[in-house]
Symmetry: C2
Subunit: 127 residues, 2 copies
DNA sequence: CATAGGGTTTCCACCAACTGGAAGGTCAAG
DNA sequence: CTTGACCTTCCAGTTGGTGGAAACCCTATG
């Protein structure tokens, strides 16, 4: 399989597949005579795994760890859970921040008449 | 006022104040004989304004626009409200995404025993 | 067999919004 | 006069890619 086949199979852009190879996250199986990267089902599965992990917001380094655990049959679910819990806590933290931002900005936007006069509670708040 | 005084007054790192000057967001009032940036109350107020806007997640470019409106006495509150509404919608969108991520990951983490055995619903989901 | 089109390679640059650090000039105190 | 705390510029690195150029490769068609 060439890189574009792999990228389609994994639902990732070609550039991204190449990038993952560059950073040593998912290496190609090998190279053709012409120097083309070749991919087999094993690598496709890893690429899909990484795509899903990235969709959860795991960093490249975390994906590397998760991928390591995925491939290690003597992993412990505790190790996996620990990484996932960390990410979950980050998400919760971000949610709290966004909620607070949302509430404040929402109040300001509601209080702003949005007409052609200059007085504006949003500007007042920022100043 | 030297840059470190300004940075304290605006509650921003020195590096950031210098960066804002570099990108033309908040220029220093001038330079001393030795070439030191000087800041007056006007610039401090702008720096504080930008810090607050950044805390809301407005981009540098949006801060530039807001700062322009802040300084323009014939602004319309409609212009301000439009920028703020755009940002508010981005926040809402991000909240929806995070909520979905949270729910999914939370379910997986709950379902994972986190013991020393290898079977793990998180890995299963990603694979 | 030449050539046109696609696919592939490497490498370099860019995005946002800083941050860290090096090398060197400045200033005030002791 | 020296020491230490400032300040300056400039370059590099961060995250996770993306865009593009120059050049090589492969296949199909005329």
């Amino acid at each position: 399989m060439n890189i574009s086949q792999a990228s389609k199979a994994a639902a990732l852009p070609v550039k991204t597949v190449r990038y993952y190879a560059d950073v040593g996250l998912v290496a190609a199986q090998g190279r053709s005579d012409a120097g083309y990267r070749t991919y087999s089902d094993t690598e496709i599965r890893k690429l899909i795994f990484v795509r899903r992990a990235r969709e959860f917001g795991f960093s490249i380094e975390e994906c590397r760890e998760l991928l390591g655990l995925y491939q290690k049959d003597d992993r412990t679910s505790a190790d996996v859970k620990q990484i996932a819990t960390k990410r979950l806590n980050e998400i919760k933290q971000k949610q709290r921040e966004l909620q607070s931002l949302h509430d404040d900005l929402s109040n300001l936007v509601s209080a702003c008449r949005g007409d052609n006069r200059p007085d504006c509670p949003i500007i007042d708040y920022l100043a």
